[in-house]
Amino acid sequence: MSGATVAQPADSAPIYHKAGSLRRERRRALIGAYIALAVFVVFFLTPPFHMLMTSLKSSAEIADLSGNPWIVSRPTLENYWALLSQGSYLTHFVNSVMVTVCVVAITMVISTFAAFALARMRFWGSTALATGVFLTYLVPETLLFIPLFQTIGGLGMYNNLWAMVLLYPTLTVPFCTWIMIGYFSSIPKELDEAALIDGANHFQMLWKIFIPVALPGILAATIFAFTVSWAQFLYPLAFLVSSDQMVLTVGIISDLIRGDTFQWGMIMAGALMAALPPLLVYAFLMDYYIAGLTAGATKG
């Protein structure tokens, strides 16, 4: 651990140090902090940066081994144009949007009701169910995709976009329920009682009190559900084969890689546009995004 990681000066004789040395130590620690940060920011942003550069290059410039791969000398939007005007990129995009919207809606309905019941209405087995929800959240998709492959086939939903709408909620609902149990539990009990006395029934209590009061939590859960369904890769890769059914994560590689010819410019342009929705959500709703991320472990 470098000295840069500690805000306070590491002075062995704290009673005697002078204000000047304190400030100087602090300054040095801060400079160290900025250097460490800069190094990691470069590391973390290199791939997206390179992605952007490549996407702005023509095929000829990409293939030119004598040029600098890190910068673009003759920027062009032809890759973006090609993607949006021909081929099935737009179809994939629309598919992704459709699946994500449906999954987010289903997730929020299921998990809001479940979280409300689990947080507020004790019933037989409710604690066990809450624990079960958490355990389900820990089940990775790689554990169950093979039996699901069989089941989906059995239902006649192989190579069907709607199979994704059926399956993704298993990945989103448990976590969303879990964090919303946390948010709902943090609402003071007197608020329900006041609503009860004011004449609200359980649905009114949920709709008019809990959902508005826990709106930050609902938003965090929604963002989570959105990012998970937008990013899911294994299920579409395993269950979708024809281009018209594919979503972005699998569509880009399956369409733009024909045998050994990689259209890197278009791949990077497509990837960048596919990364854009989550990035935008993140940029505008960063606090909720982070709240949802950390809530899983800091709440409940």
């Binding site: 003071p188 007197e190 009682e193 006041a194 009860l196 006395i197 609200a200 508005p212």
Partner: protein, 366 residues
């Protein structure tokens, strides 16, 4: 508006805790009743059973003559003010106050009329558009009351509504609550652990302890005629002194023998009342305000004795002194003009007209 009757109500929580053990209470129409007692004595539980927020284990509760045991809170026609106010944080003050009426599908202009009326009573007309977050503690308190008033219910229920306020505001809001009650005259059940609040607000005070009612009565009654040692000690501030004393037959009159060879004559009019207890070890209960410096009042039944204060607390309008008689701490209230110094003996006067004798075994005032 209505009377409220509690008939032998019992509350046993899951796990066997008996929080309320058979409470009987008749609350009259328009009455302001305060349940007071130490924390954990079952006040809130009682109130919440009236509200319908807790199930009743045994007994009956009637509001306005109708037994409500099985009726959910929304149909009991009551309103409640909570300690933490329980204002809906996402609604404006106006919406908070109108919420109950909106749910009951009142017409819009009726809601407006009622909210504005309540806002006028509480002087919060300029806050109606604010969210609870933008209000001070006292303002939130008013809104919580406004929410109750707007509903025009049969009964107001208050659960420690002032406990979250600072001392000054508490006194101010206390007056406010009293004023509101005088305006709307709704039957009120008010829970507090603060006996001053209870005394100042109540038409009748109900003192509870360990899930049972110790005594019910108007404030003055409880102060002057407590029936149990608990009530005697709970009501009044500083608390009543309890001094071990032996009741003896003197020449002609009864006499209390205190430790340190202090003997006090019992007022003659109480001779008959106390005669059965001659020879027993009892507790003498005397309030600090009846244990003072010697004054020339010409009153009957004033006895004097000597004591050396160990702690002197000047309070401004009075001076409290503390001394010990055989392990029993005694507090006396002196005029601030009286010189008092720790360790210096002085003569104190006991107003024996105000004395109480308590049977230490049963805890009853004799």
């Amino acid at each position: 508006m209505a009377q409220v009757s509690l008939r032998k109500i019992v509350k046993e929580y899951e796990g066997g805790v008996q929080a309320v053990k058979g409470v009987d209470l008749e609350i009259e129409d328009h009455e302001f009743v305060v349940l007071v007692g130490p924390s954990g004595c079952g006040k809130s539980t009682t109130l919440r059973m009236i509200a319908g927020l807790e199930e009743i284990t045994a007994g009956d509760i009637a509001i306005g003559g109708r037994v409500v045991n099985d009726i959910p809170p929304r149909d009991r026609d009551i309103a409640m003010v909570f300690q933490n106010y329980a204002l809906y944080p996402h609604m404006s003050v106006y919406e908070n106050m109108g919420f109950g009426l909106t749910l009951r599908k009142f017409p819009k202009d009726e809601i407006r009329r009622r909210v504005e009326n309540a806002a006028r009573i509480l002087d919060i007309g300029n806050l109606l558009d604010r969210k609870p977050k933008a209000l001070s503690g006292g303002q939130r308190q008013r809104v919580a009351m406004g929410r109750a008033i707007v509903r025009d219910p049969k009964v107001f229920l208050f659960d420690e509504p002032l406990s979250n306020l600072d001392a000054k505001l508490r006194v101010q809001m206390r007056t406010e609550i009293k004023k509101v009650h005088q305006t709307v005259r709704t039957t009120t059940v008010y829970v507090t652990h603060d006996q001053v609040e209870a005394m100042t607000l109540a038409d009748r005070v109900v003192v509870m302890n360990h899930g049972v009612i110790e005594q019910v009565g108007p404030p003055q009654d409880l102060y002057h005629h407590p029936t149990t040692r608990f009530v005697a000690g709970f009501i009044g501030s500083p608390a009543m002194n309890f001094i071990p004393a032996r009741l003896e037959q003197g020449s002609g009159a009864l006499r209390l023998a205190l430790p340190d060879n202090i003997a006090l004559p019992v007022p003659p009019e109480r001779t008959q009342r106390y005669t059965p207890y001659v020879g027993r070890d009892l507790l003498l209960g005397i309030r600090p305000e009846h244990l003072t410096e010697v004054k020339a009042t010409g009153k009957q039944n004033i006895a004097t004795f000597e004591a050396a204060p160990e702690v002197v607390e000047p309070m401004g309008m009075e001076t409290l002194i503390h001394f010990w008689i055989q392990g029993a701490e005694i507090c006396a209230k002196l005029d601030p003009a009286v010189p008092a110094e720790p360790g210096r003996k002085m003569t104190l006067a006991v107003d024996l007209n105000q004395m109480h004798l308590i049977d230490p075994d049963s805890g009853r005032v004799l």
